[in-house]
């Protein structure tokens, strides 16, 4: 830099000195000359900076190091864990980004830095050297001319002409070079355009890599079944897991169907606190040791109660709280049932599906009331407050006993008349294998089940005959419900058939 500076300084002094002297270069070329120096400075510094960057990066890209760390971490954690999968994916991505960066830097070096180097360190200095030479020649010519004016002689005149000649040749050469430089300015400018383009391309590619990896990462997250469900809103849990019935509800109900139906005081008797905590945590992970809990139905019932209780909103919804309570105050049982049905139909689909599932289960549980002593009334007392509640203010606590009794007046008749509220049988094991295969089908006596290949209208007719009319919306929903059941039924029926034919398959 210093050198260039001095050169340019000398040059400008030279211009001043020469100002009164003969001007051999045209005005535009003088302008070009000024620019030469600037361009040289600019390109030189660009080049130099790049060399520093390149040297620095020759060690190892930070991205590559990051990628390696991630991949090593993934190897430690293993591909069967979500975190391991994520680390692999991210590590690979970072590696790709590093590759892009290397590619980018290489391209910049080749297409921008090198040409700029040539321009700054070779082309321009050449021109400047020539310019100096020309200056010298001009000086020679001027002194020859002065001498000629002072002492008019033939030899001096020849000398002067020769000097002028030499100067002219040099000037023409220099002019040609300078015009060339000017003409090539578009090419020089192009280097910078290339720089930006390459950079844009690099960023585009990097972004593409990131965009392409994001869906995969999200898919991994979503495909991961071990998602907490306790304390999550029902809708969120169902959306994330792609389920129709909340996992804790289905898991607990299916297990209870297998090992808890005869248990005295199911849902009433308290489970072991540590067992309950463990079961809740394992349900949150989507893992279940059926064997361990088959001897402890109270823990399962407790977990189900906890799940319902910990929902941010009661299963029977806060919005409908007042309507439920109003319906419970109707003394005439027929009218109360109608009113309860009307509220029931207003439940959002997710809540209705899960509520129906639960009520159908409780109705089934009440069939065993001789041994489990849980009548619909008893169930309503112990479970009601887990299904419907309101956010009471502290001074309202004294009313809670009354409210509890009102809730009993809602739940008890619904369980008692479960088949009227929710006609048809229900498949409890919809998605999982929470028990031995033989128990997955609780509905062998499905003879009146509409088959899935049945025409929609046929099916609708059959339903219309078999139960009291519901609203159209509920009708359609019920159709969906039956359709689903039908498929499940066929599958589980085949399964049951298989197992009855080959008992050895049980193990």
């Amino acid at each position: 830099h210093q050198l260039i500076y001095m050169v340019s300084l000398t040059l400008s002094h030279f211009y001043l000195f020469r100002a009164e002297k003969t001007e051999v270069l045209s005005e535009d070329l003088l302008q070009v000359e000024k620019r030469l120096d600037l361009v040289k400075q600019v390109t030189h510094s660009t080049h130099k900076n790049n060399i520093i960057i390149c040297l620095y990066h020759q060690k190892k890209l930070p991205l590559t190091i990051l990628a390696q760390c991630m991949l090593e971490g993934a190897a430690v954690l293993g591909d069967d864990s979500l975190l391991g999968k994520m680390l692999t994916l991210c590590g690979e991505t970072e590696e790709k980004l590093a590759q892009e960066l290397i590619q980018f830097e290489f391209q910049i070096e080749r297409d921008v830095v090198e040409p700029l180097y040539v321009l700054a360190e070779v082309d321009i200095p050449n021109i400047q050297k020539q310019r100096k030479h020309l200056a010298k020649l001009v000086l020679d010519m001027d002194s020859a001319r002065t001498s000629h004016i002072l002492y008019i002689s033939e030899s001096l005149r020849e000398e002067m002409e020769e000097a002028a000649n030499r100067m002219e040749i040099c000037r023409d050469q220099l002019s040609a070079d300078m015009y060339n430089f000017v003409a090539k300015e578009i090419d020089y400018a192009n280097y910078f355009q290339t720089l930006i383009e390459t950079q844009a391309e690099y960023h585009r590619k990097s972004l593409e890599i990131l965009h392409s990896i994001l869906p995969q990462i999200k898919a991994h997250q979503e495909a991961w079944v071990e998602k907490p469900s306790f304390g999550k809103s029902l809708e969120e849990h169902l959306n994330i897991s792609g389920r129709e019935i909340a996992f804790p509800i289905e898991a607990c109900v299916t297990m209870l169907l297998e090992c808890g139906m005869q248990e005295e005081g199911l849902f009433r008797v308290a489970p072991s606190a540590s067992k309950l905590k463990k079961l809740k945590a394992s349900l949150d992970c989507g893992v279940l040791d059926v064997q361990e809990y088959s001897s402890d139905p109270h823990a399962i019932a407790g977990a189900l109660k906890s799940y319902l209780r910990e929902l941010p909103e009661p299963l029977m919804t806060t919005d409908l709280y007042d309507e439920w309570i109003q319906a419970s105050n109707i003394q005439d049982m027929d009218k109360r049932l109608q009113a309860l049905m009307a509220v029931c139909e207003k439940l959002p689909t997710d809540n209705l599906n899960n509520f129906r599932y639960l009520v159908k289960f409780l109705a089934k549980l009440s069939e065993y009331q001789d041994s489990n002593k849980m009548t619909p009334g008893n169930m309503a007392i112990v479970l009601g407050p887990n299904l419907l509640w309101t956010h009471t203010e502290p001074n309202m606590t004294e009313m809670m006993t009354t409210v509890s009794l009102q809730i009993v007046g809602i739940i008890e008749p619904i369980i008692q008349h479960a088949d009227w509220f929710f006609p048809g049988e229900i498949e409890f094991n919809l998605t999982g294998s929470y028990g031995s295969p033989v128990h997955t089908n609780h509905n062998y006596n499905y003879s009146s089940m509409p088959s899935p290949d049945m025409d929609q209208s046929d099916r609708k007719q059959q339903h219309d005959q078999s139960r009291r009319p519901l609203s159209v919306a509920t009708d359609n929903m019920m159709l969906e419900f039956y359709k689903k059941d039908g498929y499940d039924f066929n599958a589980s029926f085949c399964c049951a058939l298989l197992f009855s034919l080959f008992p050895s398959l049980h193990s």
Binding site: G265, R268, V382, E398, L405, V408
Partner: protein
């Protein structure tokens, strides 16, 4: 602290199905029902003698199957004395009492002057016993409270339970013997009458 009213409130806590209602009903009505109905919440009243006068013994039979923390707190803050019931046939039911005791301790600040009775019910079901008498006693010692094993079914120790609980109350002089006193007075009156009639 609950106000010093004419009512003396006893709150019965315990896990679901340990026999809280059975104990209270045996004491209040002298009966035992073999039905199986969970309690939402029931309150029974009985007149007892207190500081040479009478007051109402109010027994609150709470629900064991689901906890409303708010409701439980309310019962504790209003209660003067507590009966913590477990079933000797269920170790878990004794475990369930621990958070309730902690809650009482937290709300009352100290359990020193508060009558608390730890009760192991269903003492008739010896075959299904899971909690030894010694274990119940040890827990009571740890909690610095009284202990008793009862059977609502066979009416064993039920009246004694309430008698002893009232005896633990040092601020008032209470006893269940109001009926006895009254009948005593009645007898004297009868005697006088008799004398009168003789006269």
């Amino acid at each position: 602290m609950p106000e010093q009213s004419n009512d003396y409130r006893v709150v019965v806590f315990g896990a679901g199905g340990v026999g809280k209602s059975s104990l209270v009903l045996r004491f209040v009505k002298g009966t035992f029902r073999d039905t199986y109905i969970p309690t939402v919440e029931d309150t029974y009243r009985q007149v007892i003698s207190c500081d040479k006068s009478v007051c109402t013994l109010q027994i609150t039979d709470t629900t064991g199957s689901h906890q409303f923390p708010a409701m439980q707190r309310l019962s504790i803050s209003k209660g003067h004395a507590f009966i913590l019931v477990y079933s000797i046939t269920s170790r878990q039911s004794l475990e369930e009492l621990k958070p309730i005791y902690q809650q009482v301790l937290a709300i009352k600040g100290s359990t020193e002057s508060i009558p608390i009775m730890l009760v192991g019910n269903k003492s008739d079901e010896m075959a299904q016993r899971e909690v030894e008498t010694k274990e119940g006693e040890a827990q009571a010692t740890a909690w610095k409270c009284a202990f008793m094993e009862t059977s609502a079914k066979t009416n064993s120790n039920v009246k004694e339970l309430f008698q002893e609980l009232l005896a633990l109350e040092k601020k008032r002089d209470m006893s269940l013997s109001i009926d006895g006193k009254r009948s005593g007075k009645q007898k004297r009156a009868d005697k006088l009458k008799g004398k009168c009639s003789v006269m």
